[in-house]
C-alpha cells in the first residue's frame, strides 16, 4: 500500500465495514462476512487478471490485499473492536502507557497462570483442554459485554477496559496452544 493509499484509508474511517457493505458494529454475522469476503476476492484477486496488463494486475493486487486486511481485522473480535474504538473515539485501546487492569481480573489471571504452569509441568493435556474451554467461555462473556458497551452504550472507556481483558485472555489461550504443542512433540 502506498503512503497515499494509507492516508486515504485513515481519512475514510470505517472503510473496512464499507468495503464489506455491513454496518459498523461489533456484533456482526461471521458467515455473512466470510461469504462477502469470497465474493469480493472473486471480483478482485490478481489471478482473475492473469493475462491483463501489469497496471491492471497491480491495481488488482492492491485491492485484493486491502480486502484481505479488512477481512483479517473484521473477523477477529479483538482487532474488530480495536478498529471500531480507534475510529469512533480516536483512542488507541492498546496504548502502552495504559496499564490499568481491574484488581480482581489480575488476581484471577495470576491463579490461572499458576494452574497452567502446574498442568504443563505435569503434562496433563486433559486439564489444559479444560482450562482452554473455560477461557473460551470467559472470552464469549467479554464479547457479549463489548457488544453492549460499543454497539448499545457507545461507552468508549468501558469498551477499552473490556477489550484489554479480552486481548489478555486471547494471549493466554494462544500460550496454552503453544504449551500443548510442546507437550505433544
Amino acid at each position: 500500500m502506498s503512503a497515499a493509499a494509507a492516508r486515504a484509508l485513515r481519512s475514510n474511517w470505517m472503510q473496512f465495514f464499507a468495503l464489506f457493505e455491513i454496518a459498523a458494529k461489533f456484533d456482526i454475522n461471521a458467515n455473512a462476512l466470510a461469504a462477502k469476503f469470497r465474493t469480493l476476492q472473486i471480483e478482485s484477486h490478481p489471478d482473475k487478471f492473469a493475462s491483463a496488463a501489469d497496471s491492471v494486475r497491480r491495481a488488482a493486487q492492491q485491492r485484493s490485499a486491502l480486502i484481505n486486511d479488512a477481512y483479517k481485522t473484521l473477523r477477529d473480535p479483538v482487532a474488530r473492536a480495536a478498529y471500531l474504538i480507534k475510529n469512533t473515539c480516536g483512542a488507541d485501546p492498546f496504548d502502552e502507557r495504559n496499564t490499568k487492569m481491574p484488581l480482581h481480573f489480575l488476581h484471577a489471571q495470576i491463579e490461572l497462570r499458576e494452574e497452567i504452569a502446574e498442568n504443563c509441568a505435569a503434562g496433563n493435556l486433559q486439564n489444559l483442554a479444560g482450562i482452554a474451554a473455560k477461557l473460551e467461555a470467559d472470552q464469549a462473556l467479554l464479547r457479549a459485554k463489548i457488544t453492549q458497551t460499543i454497539d448499545v452504550n457507545q461507552d468508549c472507556a468501558a469498551a477499552i477496559d473490556d477489550l484489554r481483558q479480552l486481548r489478555f485472555l486471547q494471549k493466554v489461550a494462544s500460550e496454552i496452544d503453544d504449551a500443548v504443542e510442546r507437550l505433544e512433540s
Binding site: 502506498s2 461469504a35 492473469a50 493475462s51 493486487q61 484481505n68 504443542e181 505433544e184
Partner: protein, 620 residues
C-alpha cells in the same frame, strides 16, 4: 456460423484460442509436467512413456547436459558432476546445507550465493533447476505441438521467500512464463476439488521423501482458502528407510559399514519398506563382505519401528487444526500426497485420527502436477467463469524487521492470506540520525539470529531531527506468489527507498538477464555448429561419390567438362575447410549442378548395361 459466436464477457472468445498452459511439480526426487486436454488434467509422458522425470542433472564433457534417467545413470561413474536433490539447495546458503550434500559436491559461495563446481563450470542451484524445467518445457512443447503460453510451478508450502524467489528465477531462466507459484498442498486439493467438486474443509497430508507438510483448506462457492499450514522440514520417507536400516544393522550385528555399504543397506531397507506396502512380510538381504545375509521383516515389526515417526507427523497436523480453530471431526476430507503415503500405516493413522477414509484415488506422485495444470488452465483463460477455482494461499512464515537488541518485530504474521500489504511506523532512536538500516527477516523466533535473513537495505536522506521525531513508514507487500517487496519512507521529508527482496540468497535481475542472454547465444552457437557439421558432411559425401564416379566412368566426359568438375571439386574442398556453412551449401549445390550431365550419362550407361542381352518382352 462465425457470426453467431458471441461470447459472454470473461469467456474465452473462441475455442481455437486455447492457450498451451502447463503445471509443473518441481520435486526433490522426481519432477512432472501436466496439462489440461479436453477438460481433463493429465500428466505428459516422454517419448518412451515415462511420466516421472528424475530431478537429476549431469554435466558432461564438451558442454553436454543430460537431465532425468540419462543423468541418473551417470551418478555412480561421475558423482561430482551428477547433481541430485538440487531442490534442497534452492535459496540456501552453504551453512544451511547439510553435511550429506556438502560431502557429495564441491561447493563454493560468493556474495551469499551457493555454487556447485562441475566440469561445465560453477553452477547455481537456480541454473541446475532451470535445466530440469527446460527438459519439462521441451517435453510439453513436443507433446502439445508448440510454444507454451505459461506455467504454474508448485513449491512446498513451507518454502520461504528466498526459496520461492529462487524457484521463480529458475523458471524464467528455463524460458517459462510463470503464471503463478502455487503451494503443493493447495495444488493437490485443487486436483481433488475438481474431481469431486464437493464443498467443505480438507486436510492435505503430504509426506514426501525428505519433508512433511500439512495444510487445511476450505472450499466454498469456488474459492479455495488456505486456513493454516505447518510442517516438519526434517521428516520424510527417508527417515522410515533409516529406521529399518538401523534395525537391520542391530539384528545382523553389523558394525563399521563403509559409506558404500551404508547406501546399499539403505537401498534394501527402502525396498523392504515398499514391499511391505502390499505384502505382510518381506525379506531384506544384505551383502556383508562375502556373506549374503537375509532378514525377515513383518509389517507389524515395521510399524512398531516407525510408530514414533508417524506420531511426529501428527504434531503439525494438530497445530494446523488449532490455528484454523477446528476439531478433527469437522474436517470433511483428507487428501494424501507424496509417495510415502502409500504406506498402509500412514493411511490407517490418518484415517483413525480424522475418523474418515483418506482420499487417495489419484496417484500421490501425480496429484500435485494435476492440480497445477488445472490452475494453469484457469489462469491462461481457457475456461469460462463457472468452474473456475480461486485459490487464496497464505504465507507459511512470519515476516518481520530487526529491532534494536537483535529482536524481531513481526510485520506480517504467518498464515496471513496473500496478497497482503502491511505498513508500520518506526522512528529514529538517535538525534540527527540521517540513515536507517532495515534488515528483513522471516521466521517465528524472537531473535534475529534464529530467523532467516532475507535482505538488508538502507533508507538515506533523513533530515536532522531529535530522537523519536522521524516518522518512518515501512511497507511490506507480499504478492499472490508469496514474494515480498519492502519499501521505506520518511514521512516528514519524503525520503524513499525500495527493495524487491531477493539479494541475500538469490540472483539479481541483471544476473538472470545475463544468464538468459548467454543461453540464447549458446543456443544460437549450437545451431550454427550443427548446420556447419551437416553442410560439411553433405559436401564430403558428394566429393566422395564424384571421386568414385570419375574413377569408374571418366571416359563419359570430355576434357573441358572434366576441367569444370575438377575445379568445382577443389573449390568445394577449400570452402569446406572454412566455417561458413552457407558458402559450403552453395558450393555443394554448384558442384551438384556441374555434375548433373555426368550423372545422367552414367545412369544411361548403367541402364544400357542392364538391358544388354534382354529382349523387349522381358523389359516390358
Amino acid at each position: 456460423m462465425a457470426l453467431f459466436q458471441i461470447s459472454e464477457p470473461g469467456e474465452s472468445p473462441a475455442p481455437h484460442e486455447h492457450k498451451r498452459a502447463i503445471g509443473i511439480d518441481l520435486g526433490t526426487t522426481n519432477s512432472l509436467v501436466a496439462t489440461v486436454r479436453n477438460s481433463v488434467a493429465e500428466v505428459l509422458p516422454d517419448a518412451t512413456g515415462r511420466r516421472l522425470l528424475p530431478s537429476v542433472v549431469h554435466y558432461g564433457a564438451r558442454g553436454v547436459v543430460q537431465v532425468g534417467d540419462a543423468a541418473a545413470a551417470q551418478a555412480s561413474a561421475d558423482p561430482r558432476n551428477t547433481i541430485a536433490s538440487v531442490k534442497r539447495l534452492m535459496g540456501r546458503s552453504a551453512k544451511d546445507v547439510g553435511d550429506a550434500i556438502r560431502g557429495r559436491y564441491v561447493l563454493t559461495e560468493n556474495d551469499g550465493l551457493l555454487r556447485i563446481e562441475t566440469t561445465a563450470g560453477l553452477r547455481t542451484p537456480i541454473e541446475i533447476s532451470a535445466e530440469i524445467l527446460k527438459a519439462l518445457r521441451e517435453r510439453a512443447e513436443a507433446t502439445l505441438g508448440g510454444e507454451i503460453f505459461g506455467a504454474v510451478i508448485t513449491v512446498p508450502a513451507y518454502f520461504d521467500d528466498a526459496q520461492r524467489q529462487a524457484t521463480k528465477d529458475a523458471a524464467k531462466l528455463a524460458g517459462l512464463n510463470v503464471l503463478r507459484l502455487l503451494n503443493e498442498p493447495t495444488a493437490a486439493a485443487v486436483a481433488y476439488g475438481l474431481d469431486s467438486l464437493s464443498e467443505g474443509t480438507f486436510v492435505v497430508y503430504d509426506l514426501g521423501g525428505g519433508t512433511f507438510d500439512v495444510s487445511i483448506l476450505s472450499l466454498t462457492k469456488g474459492v479455495f482458502e488456505v486456513l493454516a499450514t505447518a510442517g516438519d522440514a526434517m521428516l520424510g520417507g527417508d527417515d522410515f528407510d533409516q529406521a529399518i536400516a538401523d534395525w537391520a544393522r542391530a539384528q545382523l550385528g553389523l558394525r563399521e559399514l563403509s559409506a558404500g555399504q551404508e547406501r546399499v543397506l539403505l537401498a534394501s531397507a527402502r525396498r523392504a519398506k515398499e514391499a511391505l506396502s502390499s505384502a505382510h512380510s518381506t525379506t531384506l538381504t544384505f551383502n556383508a563382505g562375502n556373506e549374503q545375509r537375509a532378514l525377515t521383516m513383518t509389517r507389524e515389526q515395521f510399524e512398531a519401528l516407525t510408530k514414533a515417526l508417524l506420531e511426529r507427523t501428527m504434531v503439525p497436523v494438530k497445530r494446523t487444526l488449532r490455528d484454523a480453530k477446528l476439531k478433527a471431526e469437522q474436517v470433511d476430507g483428507v487428501v494424501l500426497v507424496g509417495g510415502s503415503t502409500r504406506m498402509p500405516c500412514v493411511k490407517n493413522t490418518v484415517g483413525v485420527f480424522f475418523q474418515k477414509e483418506p482420499l487417495c484415488t489419484l496417484d500421490p506422485d501425480e496429484v500435485v502436477a494435476l492440480g497445477a495444470a488445472a490452475q494453469a488452465n484457469t489462469l491462461a483463460g481457457n475456461k469460462s467463469g463457472q468452474d473456475d477455482l480461486l485459490l487464496l494461499d497464505v504465507i507459511p512464515l512470519s515476516l518481520g524487521l530487526e529491532m534494536m537488541g537483535g529482536l524481531v518485530e513481526k510485520i506480517i504474521p504467518r498464515n496471513s492470506t496473500i496478497p497482503i500489504s502491511k505498513a508500520q511506523e518506526f522512528t529514529n532512536y538517535k538525534e540527527g540520525q540521517s540513515a536507517m538500516a532495515l534488515h528483513v527477516v522471516q521466521g517465528e523466533r524472537e531473535l534475529v539470529a534464529d530467523c532467516r535473513s532475507l535482505a538488508r537495505f538502507e533508507l538515506r536522506g533523513i533530515p536532522p531531527m531529535v530522537a523519536g521525531a522521524a516518522r518512518i513508514l515501512v511497507t511490506f507487500q507480499v504478492d499472490a506468489d508469496g514474494l515480498l517487496s519492502v519499501s521505506a519512507e520518511e514521512r516528514t521529508c519524503g525520503a524513499k527507498s525500495d527493495v524487491i527482496v531477493k539479494p541475500s540468497y538469490g540472483l539479481r535481475d541483471d544476473e538472470i538477464a545475463a544468464m538468459l542472454q548467454a543461453s540464447f547465444t549458446q543456443a544460437a552457437a549450437d545451431k550454427t555448429a550443427r548446420a556447419l557439421a551437416e553442410a560439411r558432411l553433405e559436401a564430403q559425401q558428394l566429393l566422395d561419390a564424384i571421386a568414385i564416379a570419375l574413377g569408374e566412368d571418366s571416359e563419359l566426359l570430355n576434357a573441358d567438362e572434366r576441367a569444370v568438375i575438377d575445379s568445382d571439386m577443389i573449390a568445394l574442398q577449400t570452402i569446406r575447410a572454412g566455417d561458413d556453412h552457407h558458402a559450403i551449401v552453395e558450393a555443394t549445390k554448384a558442384l551438384n549442378a556441374a555434375t548433373e550431365n555426368f550423372a545422367a550419362r552414367r545412369m544411361d550407361k548403367t541402364i544400357a548395361r542392364a538391358l544388354r542381352g534382354k529382349n523387349v518382352s522381358e523389359i516390358a
